[in-house]
Symmetry: C2
Subunit: 328 residues, 2 copies
Amino acid sequence: MSGQGEFALIARHFAPLTKGVPLAFGLTDDAAMLKPRKGQALVVTADAIVEGVHYLPDDPPETIARKLLRVNLSDLAAKGATPRAYLLTAAFPRDVKEPWIAAFARGLKQDQAHFGVHLLGGDTVATPGPATFSLTAIGEVPGARMLRRSGARPGDLVCVSGTIGDGGFGLAELRQPHPDLTDAQRRFLIARYRIPQPRTRLGPSLLGLASAALDVSDGLIQDLGHIARQSGVGLSIDAAAVPLSPAGLAIARGDPPARLRALSAGDDYEIAFTVPKARLKAMEAAAAKARIRVSVIGRVMKGQGVTVLGPDGTPFEAGPGGFDHFGR
Amino acid sequence: MSGQGEFALIARHFAPLTKGVPLAFGLTDDAAMLKPRKGQALVVTADAIVEGVHYLPDDPPETIARKLLRVNLSDLAAKGATPRAYLLTAAFPRDVKEPWIAAFARGLKQDQAHFGVHLLGGDTVATPGPATFSLTAIGEVPGARMLRRSGARPGDLVCVSGTIGDGGFGLAELRQPHPDLTDAQRRFLIARYRIPQPRTRLGPSLLGLASAALDVSDGLIQDLGHIARQSGVGLSIDAAAVPLSPAGLAIARGDPPARLRALSAGDDYEIAFTVPKARLKAMEAAAAKARIRVSVIGRVMKGQGVTVLGPDGTPFEAGPGGFDHFGR
């Protein structure tokens, strides 16, 4: 994992991931070159994951790699950016076996093809601790119109893509299978946890339509709190309008609090955004064109924090560890 | 180190590092925007460091941070790029104390001012293992003229900036003080190990002059081997011409093999490059203007690998673990 061994590993498993990208120089240089296309600005984001903290030690290496790439592509998508390339630094445990690394690289290769991105550079080191990966993703937005967290205005509608809570339900399934689920539903939830679906086609189509956006990674309510804070507004969310998947509904049917857990569970990697009412129709057309389901789940008000309304229109009580620390 | 604690840490220690950089959005968004100046291409590079592997656990946090930033700026400099910004992902041990993080951030702040770069984004996570940091540095080159490893041609001269071996001697000093050194020399060598001097002013001035370049991080001979391989040439190095610092000379005086150790020790962070003879005078003028010492240490030949010539002009014998695995 150092010296000549490191170079051989990079050449065998990672250099092929730069194929077709002349400015990555096959990882034979210490750096790569990058030029945004005419009229585009670059958007950059970085995330780190640690074995045993962000993924389970026995998760398949392919899905660890794909999730790492996808959570970064999700950040780009929520900013309206089209993904282009990424840099990866990998700290592999000293006793890592080469097939593990090969599988990890295969996962990246698979998703590179799917999302049209390429490895641009990085670093490989050995660690006496848990495997630790850091990925810097680079995308492009036309002009300098990156979607921000700070543009929500009172009167705007709050929307979310896809379904919420599946990632959290999937993680729970890995720990303790839920008796009400079919095998297919169980597999669906685990796949949603392990292999998020970054909304890379929806995000860029929201440019000029959404007033604020972010990706849902730490839990819908907590993340919406960032939009509230950065925009200086309050958000009112209708709990019943938050879309659950059929598998999520199967859980919530016999266990109503599961619907609330879905609102605070992480690993959704959907886009939560606000849109002025006048642009709702245009946004719905854009989402239909991207073939991504979008649901209106609430509205922006004067004030601060995130309020969750129950089925009867009254705010949920906030117990200890509940929603109150998001401010109301 | 997670949830609200992470946000507070970022706000207190890392958000101030984005001051004056509107497109970093004070780290309040998940991503930052970046536009190269007109006519410039971006150059990107990434390095990771692990506690106990790349630095000593009791190294001062300021110098760990500064070295991490500087080794990446050194990569950019060797490509001819002017540094602009960086992203940082930090995996802090769960029991890290906030003063340690504050000191780490102070080190970054100090070097940001010195090198004219800014934090653009990143991620902060907790790890049960050793502290692990990854830094992606972004620079600019005019046109698309990044210096490569692959342009050396037979007849070119091999050059190196500054002095070689100090980093390795400095690391040795931390383990076992050398009896022949003054206190000032000892401090100088340790500082060279802990706080490398990336040649950010020399690098860009070599554009259009050097035919190949890289920064010396893994040992001069090993790194020159990359230029030989990527350029398809052989390099002949005159050991006596490789510049040592006064402290390095003080060690080599009573211990001649130390001169050879200097050639294979790491952590120099000087620029090694090749230059066509016709451009030697122009290169020397550029180096003088950047106020960086440059020494001619050898020449490029047909063939392959790196040959080190002793004082009498004959190649050194390659013992076990010696120079032979770099190819001759």
